[in-house]
């Protein structure tokens, strides 16, 4: 869901810069709850204040809410239709492609040197091995602060 949001907000409507969107995505890792809701809330807030936040959340939640309501009201049977099952089987790999292309475009802009690459690879391994994503983000933040301090002392 987040790559779709990025496409629409950053690339199509240019409501927010890519870096800003990325930072928001990172920051909300530190908040509980559905990530799509958190990201839409914060981007809405950044773009148009409190009203923007509320409208964005409503926009994120309503389609799910109404879809499920329609399904349970109809008895949830038509999801088992072969055509529906097949459609979803094909949609999921397309979702992979969507996430992957977002990852590549973000990586190109964000990873500028060997330090960034090492940080990304370390985080990838850590989370793949079971470290909580929020903890990995916190680790990245710590490394960032340490590098910043060193830089400002003029050792870089």
């Amino acid at each position: 869901m987040v790559p779709l949001m990025r496409r629409e907000l950053v690339e199509r409507y240019k409501l927010i810069k890519d870096d800003e969107f990325l930072d928001i995505f990172a920051l909300v890792q530190g908040a509980p709850g559905p990530i799509a809701v958190n990201v839409s809330l914060y981007t809405g807030l950044r773009i148009a204040g409190l009203k923007g936040a509320m409208v964005s959340v409503l926009g994120t939640v309503l389609p799910s809410f109404l879809t499920i309501l329609a399904i349970v009201a109809c008895g949830a049977r038509y999801l088992e239709l072969p055509a529906v099952v097949s459609a979803f089987r094909a949609i999921r790999p397309a979702v992979v492609a969507l996430i992957l292309s977002a990852g590549i475009s973000v990586a190109r802009r964000v990873i500028k040197d060997i330090r960034g690459l090492i940080l990304a690879l370390t985080a990838f391994l850590a989370v793949a091995l079971g470290v909580h994503p929020a903890l990995a983000v916190a680790g990245g933040a710590l490394v960032g602060v340490i590098l910043e301090r060193r830089g400002s002392r003029g050792t870089a």
């Binding site: 890792q29 909580h132 994503p133 990995a136």
Partner: protein, 172 residues
């Protein structure tokens, strides 16, 4: 009373689940199947299947579903509100703290450290969906096809997903 109980339960689920998506499933199961017996285990599996097949956050999907089973449409609304309320409060708090310090040098350093980590989280998400979805030649073909279309054209991704769905319904 049931509505309040629904809202409170899903508030807890929203509050204590970090990481979103699949990370929330165990907590939802404990609360709705074991603790409240609102659902049987089989029904819970159905919910996960439906949540996976329909758009939107799994937490919202399951809140709407469970809420309806317990107390109809009002139950859906209570549970959904409950599950997103902690997010709203905590993200607003986080945002207020962060917006003031956005241009501070330390904060800039923090963001420079966080960005590469986020890149890896995105690739991990791709990997996790890949494992669950690309299981044979047809699904691999759709994946590659979609990737080429996404990177080489400016076609709206929502259209690409719909297109993949139509392809699947016709040929899979």
């Amino acid at each position: 009373m049931e509505l309040l109980e629904l809202a409170a339960t899903f508030f807890r689920i929203g509050l204590f689940s970090f990481g979103g998506g699949y990370a929330m499933i165990p907590l939802i199961e404990v609360e709705t199947v074991l603790r409240h017996q609102w659902l049987e285990r089989v029904q819970f599996v159905d919910i996960i299947a439906i949540a996976e097949m329909t758009p939107g956050p799994i937490a919202v999907n399951s809140a709407t579903f469970v809420g309806y089973k317990v107390a109809g449409a009002a139950g859906s609304a209570a549970a959904t509100l409950g599950v997103i309320l902690p997010s709203i409060m905590i993200v607003l708090l986080l945002a207020t703290l962060f917006e003031k310090k956005r241009h501070d040098a330390h904060v800039a350093g923090v963001l420079r450290g966080i960005r590469p980590v986020v890149v890896s989280l995105i690739f991990l998400a791709a990997l996790s969906v890949f494992r669950k979805s690309v299981t044979d030649l047809p699904t691999a073909t759709v994946g590659v096809l979609a990737f080429v279309v996404i990177t080489k054209t400016r076609i709206n991704p929502i259209l690409i997903l719909v297109g993949a769905g139509v392809l699947g319904a016709l040929f899979f």
